[in-house]
Amino acid sequence: MDTLVTITVVSSSKDSAEKAIDTAFSEIEKLEKLFDFFSPDSEISLINKNAGISEVKVSQDTLDILDKALYVSEKTEGAFDATIGAVITLYDFYKKVNPEDSSIKKNLSLVNYRYLTIDRNKSTAFLKKRGMYIDLGGISKGYAADNAVETLKRNRIHSGLVSVAGDIKAFGLKPDGKPWKIGIRNPRAKGQEDDIMATIELTDMAISTSGDYERSFINDGKRYHHLLNPRTGYPAEGCQSVSIITKEGAFTDAFATGIFILGPEKGIKTLEKMGFDGVIVDSQGKVHTTPHIRGKVEFKRSS
């Protein structure tokens, strides 16, 4: 995934802590091999290659993550869509190139989660149309954090924190008996990446943030970022950043993307329906929160 992964654990023995951390890192590497869209023989690449041709036999983890991706698509009215690959690959966020309108329109018919089917009995996945492309970038980091935490727990770690490029899952309490303190990045930070706008204390919870500042560039005064609306193929407007809090990292990750695309009003409604917590910074910089979270997030005075 070429991202920064940090694992912190609380343990009375250095050896068992290191062993647990190593096992958790191997778990994340294993998942990366399955889901990586750049690597030609990952399971996701095999499904992509066989789009419109045949079903592909896949592992339990791939079935699981696709199942969760489809669930989030349904709950966000398709705003989160793992089949966004056919359009997102038209953008080059390194070279700062946005595609022609005609090529976006052409590939838009290849974006639709309803054409992705999984068969749990046969352990297979299938993309119905040739040229369709799964990109799990919006869910795999949170899913990896979930699995890393499960791995730590199996190795008898009772407290720790896993962060896969900012998709964070924390469990247990710190040695001082306090919950883990997470900073939410200021979407319009000037200069420093660790400029935070708010903090929240968490335990046995995951948190993810999607922002228009990651993987983005400005062309002709317009900001192009990777959070594409599956209906238009263009970057979603309406939010600067969306942070989601719930138990599962796969859901915080994918809902952060989906809610970003839905926008602040619809987003808060969807979160309330799901029973998730969230903090949304809209395009004007105004902060919206779910009712439950008020009082738990500590906002820093804006500078």
Binding site: D2, F38, K181, R185, N186, E193, D194
Partner: protein, 130 residues
């Protein structure tokens, strides 16, 4: 006594002393600006362990030995980039010059971070999302 009267009542020795004092206080500004670092530090880590802490002001090229081989990091004009890496995808090189944030080369376990030496906000939280 007004200012003019005050100046008239000084001796040459007084004036020389005054001049030296002004010079000394001005040199303090120069001293602080030139000698103390301006805050931005380039931190290079291998496997999560810091191996270099370098001021961003000074242009230089350093080579660090990651898990797959040598990564070359270049600091120039307050910017940082990776020019050579043994990894397959070369995403770290493609990222080009950065003025803030970080470059991560996962295959070679090398991380280059630009930050302030003692970041207050960083110390107060256990992790940052976003």
């Amino acid at each position: 006594m007004n200012l003019k009267g005050l100046l008239n009542s000084t001796t040459i020795a007084d004036r020389i002393l005054l001049f030296i004092l002004i010079l000394l206080s001005l040199s303090g500004i120069f001293f602080i600006k030139e000698v103390l670092p301006k805050g931005q530090i380039v931190r290079i880590e291998i496997n999560g362990h810091p191996v270099y802490l370098l001021p961003i002001e000074k242009d230089r090229i350093v080579s660090v030995n990651g898990s797959e081989g040598n990564t070359i990091v270049e600091i120039k004009n307050h910017k940082v980039r990776i020019t050579e890496s043994p990894c397959d995808n070369k995403l770290c090189i493609q990222q080009g010059w950065i003025e803030k944030g970080s470059i991560v080369c996962l295959p070679n376990r090398v991380v280059v971070i630009i930050g302030t030496p003692e970041d207050e906000s960083n110390k107060r939280v256990d992790a940052i999302t976003g």
